[in-house]
């Protein structure tokens, strides 16, 4: 049982890190960024290339992967989202333009890295196992959890305590009011995207390390799970996404342990559906999910 909790926490930390970026953009723009998973994937490849080809240490490649993710996010915002601001159908059109960018990113990954699964080289990370309270975890898993938690804590602090965080929250609340208050809305949104995609990129690198399997379509399944996480946590709520990520990770591990792995993915969607029908705003969400 302890082992399962540990595995659940491990899986959940990655889900949470991925979802946090997703929900941040939704909170700020009211748009679902379907290219988030592609950024996740490209950042993983970037880190892989830095380690395997440039022979950099993983400790250098990881932050660089995060930066790559962040830059991709800025490009995304500029190319696919900003031109649509103010359009009446910006929800659906934003969805589709992010989809278009996701396709472009995937094509780039396919061209450079090919369709097959790539792996990190053997000596990327020290291979040690730690035993904690009757359960065992690899050093890698513990580091991943620690890094995820640290990044999410940093984000929470940034949003709550810094001026940038206040600006982001203001824009999320009401872009019009924020503009009147003198906030540079365009730049704030761009920064929010940088942060969101940077975190998504971090999740990608950590995921790549954790499962040692990176391919151009690796984002696909995580993307849908990510949806379940942000719905459960509440759209636009960062703390909600964190909690929900861990909850979903634990639910998934326990479901596999007791019901078999064929229900692994189905349980996320079942959770998603139940939440939307019973309590659409999730655990901590504020956005109105129902019609008037």
């Amino acid at each position: 049982m302890g082992q399962q909790v540990l595995n659940g926490v491990f899986l959940g930390s990655i889900y949470a890190l991925f979802a946090v970026g997703y929900t941040l953009v939704f909170g700020v723009l009211d748009i679902l960024n379907l290219a988030h998973a592609a950024v996740f994937m490209l950042s993983a490849f970037a880190a892989l290339a830095l380690v395997a080809d440039a022979h950099l240490s993983i400790w250098v490649a990881l932050p660089l992967g995060v930066v790559v993710g962040g830059l991709l996010g800025v490009i995304l915002e500029r190319v696919a989202f900003r031109p649509l601001r103010g359009r009446s159908d910006s929800n659906i059109s934003g969805l589709i333009s992010s989809l278009a960018m996701a396709t472009v990113f995937e094509a780039i990954a396919l061209q450079i890295f090919g369709p097959d699964v790539s792996r990190f080289p053997q000596d990327t990370f020290p291979d040690r196992t730690i035993h904690v309270a009757g359960a065992s975890a690899s050093l890698l898993q513990l580091c991943i959890v620690a890094i995820s938690v640290a990044l999410m804590a940093a984000l929470t602090l940034l949003l709550a305590r810094t001026r940038l965080g206040r600006r982001i929250r203001a824009v999320a609340e009401s872009p019009k009011a924020a503009r009147i208050l003198g906030i540079d809305v365009d730049r704030t949104i761009a920064v929010a995207f940088f942060i969101s995609s940077g975190l998504g990129g971090a999740a990608g690198v950590l995921f790549g390390l954790a499962f040692n399997s990176i391919s151009p379509d690796v984002g696909r399944s995580v993307e849908l799970k990510g949806l379940a996480v942000i719905i459960l946590g509440g759209m636009g709520s960062v703390p909600g996404a964190v909690i929900a990520g861990f909850v979903l990770g634990l639910i998934e591990i326990f479901t596999v342990a007791h019901f078999g792995s064929s229900y692994r993915d189905a349980v996320s969607f079942a959770v998603l559906f139940v939440v939307l029908v019973a309590r659409p705003r999730g655990l901590l969400g504020r956005a109105a999910a129902r019609e008037a």
Partner: protein, 287 residues
Amino acid sequence: MDLFYAYEALIAFVGINGLLALSIYATLCCGQLSLANAGFMAVGAYTGALITLHAPHVPFALVLLASVAAPAVLAVPLGLPVLRLRGVFLAIATVGFGEVVRLAFVNWDFTNGALGLVAIPQRTHLWTIFLALAVVLFVLGRLQGSRAGFALAAIREDETAARTMGIDANSYKLAMLVAGAAIAGLAGALEAHFTFIVSPSGYGFSRVVDMLVQAVVGGVAVFFGPAIGAAFLTLLPEILREVGARLGLSPGPFRLFLDGVVLLAVILYLPNGLASLPQHLRRRRAA
């Protein structure tokens, strides 16, 4: 004539994708983004295939009828709880539903799980597909100017105001969800009896994303827009393959890249889709 046979599959898919794009339009025209249609397509495909494989003497028309009815019926318990949700929440709920349906087929032994069903006799001909497409286009076309058509447009524009005009929005939205499910199921059955196989991997999230993209690129302001989008996006990769081969680029990534670029260009510069191109050009010439 040889050219025709070489491209028969391509033309068939223009028709099938046209139907699928129209199934998305069915809910979009009253303001609902429903992404469950890959799941409904699967239900239609499996229903048709199972009947054909286990009861081969049943006429194809009846098989298709069953393939239309099954997803339509399934759409009702989905629709009732979910239609109250707004915009993106409805979209996500329907994505979840579609995935659950697909996973159900993956895990069901009766349908051979992840391997799916094979050796389905080819009962679909090109004329079957295009007849179905014509019928669907006709029905959607007759909505224009009808009492129901105005009600749907009103719901799309402002659902609350529409209700205070006597429009029973919930019933209309549910009806269109059922209609979309029926069309998707029809397309699924037609495809299954054309490609000989039915496999859960063909009914996932990326399939319904394709449907949405084709509908939007074609334009959802008019009822025939999605069909145009489906034709364009089904034919485009083939055209690009020729171009790409000449440029020496590996076909897969290049096609994907251009798919993305074309989609982005349409959504940014031609928001009402390809169907609005004549209008757009006229306006620019006048300016």
